[in-house]
């Protein structure tokens, strides 16, 4: 074995062919986690026992001559808001500390069935509310590119785990940019699929109408493979799309070959101006030129409603969260703080169990839904969603995909955005896709002047994953080489 096992695709191929065992691959990754894990703090819980059992099962299947599946022996990191049977699932909140779900999320079932090996549950902003992973009750995750900087969030643990080489792929969830923004800040690929393409069953809800699970990977093709495994109808999720999930392989192959002939790409004017760092804008321009070099047509376009996205999001998401998080009342599971009456017990439990950012959003959402304010806030925000869809539809009449920055900045230092509204601006480029229910992904494209990675975002209409991945693959092929994160574990490879 001489080829480096630097991607999920390479690992799965090697494991399926028998040239390396899933157990060897896993142990190499566990060694990397043991050596570098504390510095990054990507995991809330490393699933050593479950991972070893899963790897052994894959090896047994290979020995029997059975195909363990398309992710055979591929280590995968799981955001700690995905339910894993018998394994602590905390959402990085004290209120759920120690809770072990009695069931697996649909996506967890699917990656396990595809032969993936779950290495751990990754850190996040509490209940996925945040853009830096600083709001975790268990402490922040550090960016493998610079340990003094945030990995982004809320899926910061998953993004950092992939950037640090702890697992070639990971799952996160994206409610307003929680996959794409940390992917951008950590220099990895992150995808938010079309709403309904991936089952939410077993994803601990933040804002149900916006939440969507998606992949992290080091390559576009790995992200496509992982999406292929988790996508598809699930009868347990009523919002799951009945007949979706196309094979992304041909689209990725075309993009990698630098073929964007005839693809029309619109750069969103409203997201290419004030508030976007020069480093980011420079890479976005370079990406646009790369698309033209590959035969695509690039033009600037306007999607006016995106300027209302942030305001609408911070009414809708907290409103749904205020209801979704009501169940953490100390009655049935999780932590309880006793009180003289049931009501006092609930108050004390929630006061002690939730962090400030979660409380802030519960209060915002409760207010937005209150009698007398509903129409002015929640109702109006819902109308912005309609407007957003209309404006996107107009743009997609002329363009196949849209291009925008993923995040306004590169990774920022801890504590740099302590003021909530400033932090909320981190998601200004990603939120519109969630409000519209559209797919979007972040692809690493070069670095800023201080060497920190920059991501560009490719947006597509509902179920437009195929053309989105084609453009992303072309950008990946054309992107300047930035190397490996300085604090990553050494590459896995040459195992044999």
């Amino acid at each position: 074995m001489s080829d480096p096992l630097d991607s999920a695709r390479a690992i799965a191929a090697a494991v399926r062919s028998g040239s390396v065992s899933a157990t060897e691959v896993l142990e190499a990754h566990l060694a990397g986690i043991a050596a570098h894990g504390d510095a990054i703090a990507a995991f809330n819980h490393v699933m050593v026992d479950e991972a070893r059992a899963a790897a052994a099962a894959v090896d047994a299947a290979v020995a029997r001559g059975d195909d363990p599946g398309p992710l055979a022996g591929v280590p995968i990191a799981l955001k700690d808001n995905l339910c894993t049977r018998g394994v602590p699932t905390t959402c990085s909140s004290k209120i759920l500390e120690g809770w072990r779900p009695p069931y697996d999320a649909t996506v967890v079932q699917r990656v396990l069935a595809a032969g993936a090996v779950p290495v751990g549950k990754t850190n996040l902003d509490e209940f996925a509310m945040g853009s830096s992973t600083e709001h975790s009750a268990f402490g922040p995750t550090r960016n493998p590119w610079d340990l003094e900087r945030v990995p982004g969030g809320s899926s910061g643990g998953s993004a950092a785990a992939v950037a640090a080489g702890f697992a070639p792929i990971a799952l996160g969830s994206d409610t307003g940019g929680s996959i794409r923004q940390p992917a951008s800040l950590c220099g990895v690929v992150g995808v938010k699929p079309t709403y309904g393409l991936v089952s939410r069953y077993g994803l601990v809800a933040f804002a149900s109408s916006l939440d969507q699970i998606g992949p992290f990977a080091t390559t576009v093709s790995d992200a496509a493979d992982l999406l292929g495994v988790i996508a598809g109808h699930d009868p347990l999720d009523s919002t799951s799309i009945p007949d979706a999930a196309a094979d992304l392989g041909p689209a990725v192959a075309a993009g990698r070959n630098g073929d964007l002939a005839g693809v029309r790409v619109g750069v969103i004017a409203e997201l290419d101006g004030d508030g976007i760092d020069a480093d980011v804008r420079a890479q976005l321009d370079a990406a646009a030129r790369a698309i033209e070099d590959a035969g695509g047509h690039v033009a600037t376009t306007s999607v006016p409603a995106v300027t209302y996205g942030l305001s609408a999001y911070y009414l809708i998401a907290p409103a749904e969260a205020s209801s979704n998080l009501a169940r953490y009342d100390g009655v049935r599971y999780g932590n309880r703080v006793e009180g003289a009456t049931t009501g006092e017990m609930m108050d004390a439990t929630r006061t002690a169990g939730f962090g400030d950012e979660v409380k802030r959003r519960i209060m915002l959402g409760t207010y937005a839904l209150s009698a007398g304010y509903y129409d002015a806030y929640y109702g109006k925000a819902q109308r912005v969603r309609t407007l957003m869809q209309r404006d996107f539809a107009e743009a997609y009449a002329s363009f196949d995909v849209l291009l925008a920055p993923t995040a306004p900045t590169v990774a920022f230092p801890f504590g740099a955005k302590d003021d909530p509204p400033t932090m909320y601006l981190s998601d200004v480029c990603t939120i519109p896709s969630n409000l519209a229910g559209h797919p979007a992904m972040s692809v690493p494209f070069g670095a800023g002047q201080d060497g920190l990675p920059v991501g560009v975002q490719v947006l597509a209409p509902t179920l437009g994953e195929s053309v989105m991945f084609r453009v992303a693959a072309a950008l990946e092929a054309a992107a300047p080489l930035v190397g490996r994160a300085p604090h990553a574990a050494p590459p896995i490879g040459g195992v044999r």
Partner: protein, 497 residues
């Protein structure tokens, strides 16, 4: 509400100064649907199992769980709607947010501003039509048991929660405030219950709480049209409680208003033992439920084919069955025996016996009085028809027919055979005449009184002589014939004077 004036006159609460107050009642009835599984998960919908055995991540509201709508619950909800002459509309589930330990998610999934059924009506047996505002789907909560503190949560030492009921499908049927008397309220619930059972939507047992009734009660001066402030009465465990609670509550409100106080809009609990309502939480400080559309579910829009199938599968409803039976038996539609027969589901038996040639009036009388519900299945309608025929031919008296019918039901043997065995051959008139003459001769004083006494006296003595004849004939004489013969003897005696 077209018959408002007529019905208001039927129930009036009199004030101290002779003022007359009318009552206005609207009912909210929750019924558990008779589905095999719960509304949003595959757990069994069963009453009375060991606590917390029929539960799963979804009905326990575990983090990450999601609801999936039970198609059969939608079907039954539509059946209820169509049976109540509602329009089925595209509907949306919403979340009703409030904290309570028996509610796993601390919100209830219910239909709020877009319910599945709207604008229906229910006709009561007495002809009153009560409007139905809506009948919507929602999930039930778990069940708390509070230990100590009189069974109320506030003073309990501890509480136990059973989530078997959490997520059981409910339909809430909301009437318009069209009810004007306690009797109408009782009749409404009885009629609704019968309808729900008839269409197979619910077993509708108030005692098992699979049917729960809340009453909104207000009063206003008789003849006025503005609605007074209402109170919602809960904890009504029987149809009888409902009537008592309305009467009590109306009196309480009138007394308040007459002493210059006002009625506070609030929820009150019926105290069955104390025979009174007690205040619960005040609705004036009502909780804000912060309703919004449930994002985990999609809108429900039954297509025309589904609605047509629901309509086609609806059985004949109790009102129509009553009308059909009454007409055939020659009784008024509002007849109590007709209602009872339909309520007991014995109208099919009655029709079958009539089809087999039994006289409709006599058949219905027997089904109403002489056929126990639990034994009705064993009765061959043709034999009932035969029995009625024997009776009308004069071969059996009414009393004998009743006795024979009981034996037909028990043994399944032909009525004629049973009558013969028992010696229930109707006596011929000449033998009866001899017996009567003997009895007259043996009781000369009574006979003289019978012939010459006033009507009241003669009435009493008719009973005496009939009793004597029955005694002598061991009950085989036909009472009507005895009466006729006594009358003829009296006429002869008077003529001979």
């Amino acid at each position: 509400m077209s018959d408002q004036s007529a019905t208001e006159a039927a129930y009036v609460v009199e004030g101290s100064e002779g003022d007359r107050w009318a009552i206005v009642v609207g009912l909210e009835v929750h019924v558990e649907l008779a589905t095999a599984t719960k509304l949003f998960c595959a757990c069994p919908n069963v009453f009375g199992d060991e606590p917390n055995t029929n539960v799963c991540p979804t009905c326990l509201g575990l983090p990450g769980s999601l609801p999936v709508l039970n198609r059969n619950a939608v079907e039954l909800a539509m059946r209820i709607g169509r049976a109540l002459r509602c329009t089925v509309e595209p509907s949306v589930f919403a979340r009703k947010n409030y904290f309570y330990p028996d509610m796993p998610k601390d919100y209830q999934v219910s239909q709020y501003d877009k319910p599945i059924n709207v604008d229906g009506e229910l006709a009561l047996p007495d002809g009153t039509v009560v409007g139905i505002e809506r009948a919507h789907l929602e999930e039930d909560t778990g069940k708390n048991t509070h230990a100590g503190g009189g069974g109320r949560i506030h003073d309990a030492d501890y509480s136990l929660i059973d989530y078997n009921r959490a997520g059981v499908p409910l339909v809430e049927i909301v009437s318009r405030p069209d009810i004007r008397t306690p009797d109408q309220a009782r009749a409404y619930v009885a009629e609704l219950r019968q309808l729900l059972v008839a269409i197979g939507a619910s077993d509708a047992r108030m005692e098992e709480a699979s049917m729960r009734v809340d009453a909104n009660v207000s009063v206003r001066p008789e003849g006025t049209t503005e609605l007074g402030t209402r109170c919602e009465i809960k904890n009504l465990n029987s149809i009888r409680s409902l009537g008592r609670a309305i009467e009590y509550e109306a009196r309480r409100q009138v007394d308040l208003l007459e002493t210059g106080e006002r009625v506070r809009q609030e929820t009150r609990h019926w105290d069955e033992d104390g025979g009174r309502t007690r205040p619960g939480r005040s609705k004036e400080e009502a909780e804000d439920y912060r309703y919004f559309d449930e994002p985990d579910l999609v809108p429900v829009a039954p297509d025309e084919a589904w609605q047509a199938a629901v309509d086609a599968n609806l059985p004949e409803l109790p009102a129509s069955r009553r009308a059909r039976l009454a007409e055939r038996a020659g009784r008024p539609t509002t007849d109590g025996g007709v209602a009872l027969t339909v309520e007991r589901d014995l109208d099919a038996l009655a029709h079958a016996a009539m089809d087999a040639g039994g006289d409709p009036a006599r058949v219905l009388t027997h089904v109403e009085h002489n056929v126990p519900v639990e034994a009705a299945g064993g009765l061959d309608p043709a034999q009932l028809a035969d029995l009625v025929r024997l009776e009308l031919d004069g071969a059996l008296t009414a009393t004998q027919a009743k006795t024979v019918l009981a034996e037909v039901i028990a043994s399944g043997r032909p009525p004629a055979d049973i009558a013969a065995e028992r010696g229930f051959e109707a006596m011929d008139t000449s033998a009866l005449e001899g017996t009567i003459d003997e009895i007259i001769a043996a009781n000369p004083t009574e006979w003289d009184d019978y012939v010459h006494g006033d009507d009241a006296r003669r009435g009493k003595l008719t009973g005496f002589f009939t009793g004597q004849v029955m005694k002598a004939t061991k009950g085989q004489a036909d009472g009507k014939v005895v009466n006729q013969l006594l009358g003829a003897r009296r006429a002869a005696a008077l003529a001979g004077e």
